[in-house]
Amino acid sequence: MARVPTGLRNFAILLLIWEIAGRMDLVASGALPGFSEILIRLWEDRADYPRHIWATLYASGVGFLIGNAIALIAGVAFAMSPTLLRIFRGVNIAVFALPPIAIAPILVLTLSDMAPRIVLAALAVYFVTMTATVIGISQSDNRASDLVKAYGGSRWRILWLVQLRSALPTITTGFQIAAPNAVLGAILAEFGGGGRWGLGTYLLGSLGRGEPDRLWGIGLIATAIAGLGYLFFALISRRLLGATRAVTLNTATPLGDAVSASPFKRVLMLMGIVSLPFLLWWAFIVLTGVPAMIAKTPFGVIDYLLFAKTAPVAQEKLLQALSETLPITFAGMAAGIGFAFLLAISTRLFPNAIRAFMPVALVTQTMPLVALTPLLVLIFGRGTSLTLWVTISVTFFPAFVTLAQGIALVPRSAQDLPRAYGASAWQEMRIVTIPASLPYLFAATRLTVPRALLGVMIAEWLATGRGLGNLLNQSRGYLDFGMIWTVAFVSVLLSVVLYQLVVAIERKVLRRLGMQTAE
């Protein structure tokens, strides 16, 4: 087949268009330099790069190791004990949904040196690998487990001989997706505070100087590092398993649903699920030993927001920020998912165009997209349109990949049926494709809710000077510790609540339609 040459040709055409547009200053009067200009600038700046790259690599590498070690242990424990998985549900969802930028200032306040970056990188990989481990183990062949059990094998023996082995492909896929996540986490922590070195610091430092060619160079390097991380594990998994695995692993799947128990037990469990994240928060503060003036416990935040003398002012600021952040989050998400949906359902109308676009969409999955916000600042300026475009770009691609892959799963016979009666492309879409893609629309929404909030907050923090992101950044400058903790808490809470809302609506709608939740 002529697949690879076609891809190469498309790539070459893309580069050529980029070069021409850049050389002629077609995009936002020079915000996009030509590809060769970027390379030349990279060469001129070559003395700066090693230390920045090393700092980011170090933080993301160590974070990747620590985060994955914890994720593997947690994943095995959760797979062995459904109760444990249920108790940790709140923690897991919080880790999945938290906008990293929101807790970066907290980590900078409580930890020192590289630790904040490492923690954020570790948090960015934990959820993916943990979910992959749980799914991998629970999907292992029961009969193989029964066989070992029949010969008197212990639970650990089954785990080792059968379950972990058969979970290996899924876990490696988890590593693949986790690698770019770690780079993103480290860069976001660099945005969030302090330090001289790191690609994130370098990006921020260059943003004010109006040098598009340098910004694009840094963006290119960051993307390359994330992409190489992905590729590294992709190659390992191919060598290990002799097969290519799916690029995506929907990690926004609700794990550990409540099984029927007595109402009393269920209330107890729910209390445990909700209070565990707060317990961990409290324990974190006690363990780091940071003075109470700087580190706020859950009670500290409640006090700051409700009872302290400054509470009314704080409330007013927070509400004002929320009223700026929320509408644009919804608008950006709706636009991103909407575009993705339209494009994905038209797969049947323009199969070739979509097939050509799919590799691009897949590549973006390995890019630290939000970390490239400074590049978008160059193009869109510092207004609302920037926030909107950042949010659209971080929601569109994952939503498109989820939807397109979902629609590809619609059985051929279901699509053949209307066609056998001479259905038009539009009829086929209305009767089969659109309804069939509904579960994937929900899955995409679940996946993108936290990303949308993150995108908005990053844009606000770095550029627009509005909303929650800006409030967080400002409070750092004012040393308003109460507000820093409050915004972090509110952002995480917001993300979790929105996620849970999507899950609840999804369950209700799909159950009524007799459809299964999409993995």
Binding site: A420, I431, A436, G514, M515
Partner: protein, 255 residues
Amino acid sequence: MPTPDGISLSGVYKTFEGRGKTVEALRDVALKCPSASFTAVIGPSGCGKSTALRIALGLETADAGEVLINGEAPIVAAKSGKTGVAFQDSALLPWRSVRRNVEVPLEVIGLSRKSHAAQVQAMIELVGLKGFENSLPGELSGGMRQRVAIARALVTEPTVLFMDEPFGALDQILRRQMNVELQRVWQKTGSTALLVTHGIDEAIFLADRVAVMHANPGRIVEIIDVPFARPRHPDLFSDPAFHALTDRVASVLHG
């Protein structure tokens, strides 16, 4: 009802280009199904029998040859509702109730669902699913889902009925039961039926003629007449004459 003229395939060729190799799926396939007859096509996996059916439905185009449904091109016949089709694994839309699934062909060919409500109900009752009109496919057993697929295939009162291993996913007992049902329903409608299957006894029990195909290249090697009188009773499955014919078809199939 217009006089059905049946199905006619003549000199049909089809080749698929795969990764570096070409597969000759059909070579000079000719098959005439007279009006109101029941023809079964049987052959091993990959012999092109499903491809032949997809060509007759207009889902694939032949490289050469002619396909006529009641004297018209497949797509013309399909759009006028003269064809009915039931696929393997029932192909029901899981988010639609039984009634709404049966209505799909009406929607596609642009007939009003309201004015055909009685027809839809009649088909659901014909396949014995009265009372399940509002059930979702997920709530039905495998056999019931196949009945829905049959009702859906019949809802436009087609003069030509195509079936691609409609009972392939069912167990032997259920399958025989469905064969008896299908015979009853088909006799009521008087349509021309073409059944693709890999079950020898299913083919013989249902069909007037059995076309046996071989693979590589896909071709019809023999067309065997089935002489048993209708309506055929399930006892036929254990009749010595039935077994003799089964042996004969098997020897052609494997020969």
